[in-house]
């Protein structure tokens, strides 16, 4: 069993935030006496990631995802706890450590705006000190994988948002890092582009065995790429395990899709009607009642087609947050 490549133990990050109140009197008082609140962005979290894993980091805004990523990449010093990435202490920001990681934040441009991407790639080569032939091979490999072709010769400002993001990702991976920290990499992109980038990351993981820690708002990203998810909320880990397990444990409902033979009907007595389009009706029933309701429907209605599905992951996540409790289920 190989050693974990990322290891976090009781990691915390607390911020002291000055309290600001409105009104004249409060502002005068605040000149003399500053009151501080402690915001626990990350509160004693622990987990380990093995080499080659692709882990999804889920949570609403302000949950602590980006703070955790920043600590893992050495940008923030932890308040307490231990963390180790590739055997290094990230906050020491040693050159050999930085040489092997990459941090990609969606919406952030690293490449030179007015120059073609190919020139920025050359700059990446010089930053990471990559041997020329190895660099060319990697670069051409990525260009082909993402079908960039002659786009690399156009100034970045002339590219569409999706094309730009592709370039950013290529630029971030040219040095073949072993650990990828991806913060919302597909944000703002259209569906096709999102899929392209997802495929690329999966392929990179497959070819290099790199470890990927990915945060995203889009369930599709997580579903497509991550077997394992870590759910974080209010700085605490609510769930750490396989995606499928999470769905099983936390979803209390199933969705039954019914297509009736003729016309429509009122199926409210079977369960909650989620949508009704002509003869196609979606019902939401408690998990425990699924088989019973299914049998009833088949017996009592003229059913043309019937499916039983898990609820969308978004609902599951919402349920996890609503529960709020730190139900850690590790596998």
């Amino acid at each position: 069993m190989p050693d974990p490549i990322i290891s976090i133990n009781q990691l915390s990050k607390h911020f002291r935030v000055p309290v600001r109140e409105g009104g004249l009197r409060a502002s005068v008082v605040s000149l003399f006496r500053r009151k501080y609140n402690t915001v626990k962005a990350v509160d004693a979290i622990s987990f380990q990631i093995d080499p080659g894993e692709v882990v999804g980091f889920l949570g609403p805004n302000g949950a602590g995802k980006t703070t955790s990523l920043k600590m893992l990449s050495g940008l923030l010093y932890p308040t307490s706890g231990q963390l180790s990435v590739l055997g290094f202490e990230p906050s020491r920001r040693q050159s050999q450590f930085l040489q092997q990681i990459t941090l990609v934040m969606g919406n952030r441009n690293q490449l030179a705006w007015d120059l073609p991407a190919i020139d920025s790639f050359d700059l990446q080569r010089s930053i990471y000190g990559l041997p020329a032939d190895q660099f060319k091979q990697t670069r051409d490999e990525f260009i082909e994988l993402l079908e960039l072709g002659s786009l690399v010769n156009k100034p970045i400002r002339n590219l569409s948002l999706g094309e730009r993001m592709k370039m950013e990702i290529v630029g971030a991976l040219l040095h073949r890092p072993q650990v990828l920290f991806l913060d919302e990499p597909t944000i703002g992109l259209d569906v096709t582009m999102q899929r392209r980038i997802r495929t690329f990351i999966a392929e990179y993981n497959r070819r290099t065995g790199a470890t990927v820690l990915l945060t995203s708002h889009y369930m599709a990203d997580v579903e497509a790429l991550c077997k394992r998810v870590i759910v974080i909320h209010h700085g605490e880990i609510l769930f750490d395990g396989e995606l499928s397990c999470m769905v099983e444990d936390f979803s209390a409902f199933k969705t039954i899709g019914v297509t009736l033979k003729n016309g429509t009907a009122d199926l409210r007595r079977y369960g909650e009607v989620l949508s009704q389009e002509g003869s196609r009706i979606a019902l939401r029933v408690p998990k425990s009642a699924t088989s019973q309701v299914t049998a009833q429907l088949l017996a009592e209605q003229q059913v043309d087609d019937l499916t039983v599905e898990d609820p969308p992951i978004e609902d599951v996540i919402e349920h996890v947050f609503a529960q709020g409790g730190a139900q850690e289920v590790s596998l």
Partner: protein, 273 residues
């Protein structure tokens, strides 16, 4: 990683970065020219004022004739260009908008990028300046007869000036890690620099005591010295001594910047920026 390997790598990084800056700034040569034209008003004012005084005082003042003033202030425009480095005001945006974070995740110190980029830009500036200087010379008729070793010393001194000023303004900019109310400090710095660097007037026109005080500051080595190296009558030994002083200030600057950076990063990594 062995020493020569990492030196080669650093040189490669600098050259690649400079290439990019050259490509970029050449794209923007029109904007660069407009900026140069706007910049020329300042030395022209000084030139005219002091030439007027020189003529009224019987041909020269402080050892400078109108022709010498013309030479001083035309060379001034190149030195001024070499002095323009990353403004300390840029640090606020860099920190708050997360650009610094992205640079910190890479294995090269962000300041290397700054120096390399501006160095490339300066090459473009020098090339663009030459016809500009010719044009100014036709109008203001400078007296300029430098020896070959003056020209060589001048070439080295303008890069020395660039490096010293880079250090100084980086130090200033790093203050932004602790407070954003930096405008007053910056403006005070620029005002002092204006007066005792040789930008306002040649140092020899200043009273004795000012010249003595100015010797303790690095400012004259960023401005007055390079100009005087080309325009003045310094002997080779004086030129060498001046270049040596520049080297000293560069080393002092490097040490200070590295030291302050350690504290700055600690501050940044504690609060996140």
């Amino acid at each position: 990683m062995n020493q020569s390997g990492s030196l080669l790598r650093m040189l490669d990084f600098y050259w690649t970065n400079m290439k990019m800056a050259i490509m970029l700034e050449f794209q923007y040569r029109v904007a660069n020219y407009f900026y140069m034209i706007g910049m020329v008003v300042e030395p022209v004012i000084y030139l005219v004022v002091w030439s007027t005084i020189a003529r009224a005082q019987g041909g020269s003042v402080g050892g400078y004739t109108p022709g010498a003033f013309a030479a001083y202030y035309i060379v001034w425009t190149l030195v001024r260009n070499m002095n323009i480095v990353l403004t300390p005001y840029a640090w606020e945006g860099r920190i708050r908008q997360g650009r610094l974070s992205m640079e910190l995740v890479r294995p090269i110190h962000p300041l290397h990028s700054d120096v390399a980029f501006f160095a490339g830009w300066k090459i473009v500036a020098i090339i663009l300046w030459l016809p500009f200087a010719l044009f100014l010379s036709l109008i203001f008729k400078p007296e300029l007869h430098p020896t070959w070793y003056q020209i060589v010393a001048f070439f080295f001194s303008i890069w020395g000036a660039f490096l010293i000023r880079t250090m100084l303004l980086s130090l200033l900019g790093m203050i932004t890690f602790w407070t954003t109310r930096v405008g007053a400090i910056f403006e005070l710095f620029f005002a002092i620099e204006l007066v005792i660097s040789g930008r306002l007037v040649p140092m020899s026109l200043m009273p004795e005591w000012v010249q003595r005080v100015a010797a303790f500051f690095p400012f004259q080595w960023t401005f007055g010295f390079p100009i005087e190296a080309l325009v003045g009558q310094m002997s080779p030994s004086e030129l060498l001594r001046g270049l040596g002083m520049q080297a000293l200030w560069i080393v002092l600057g490097l040490v200070s910047v590295n030291l302050l950076w350690k504290f700055a990063i600690r501050q940044f990594s504690a609060v996140g920026g």
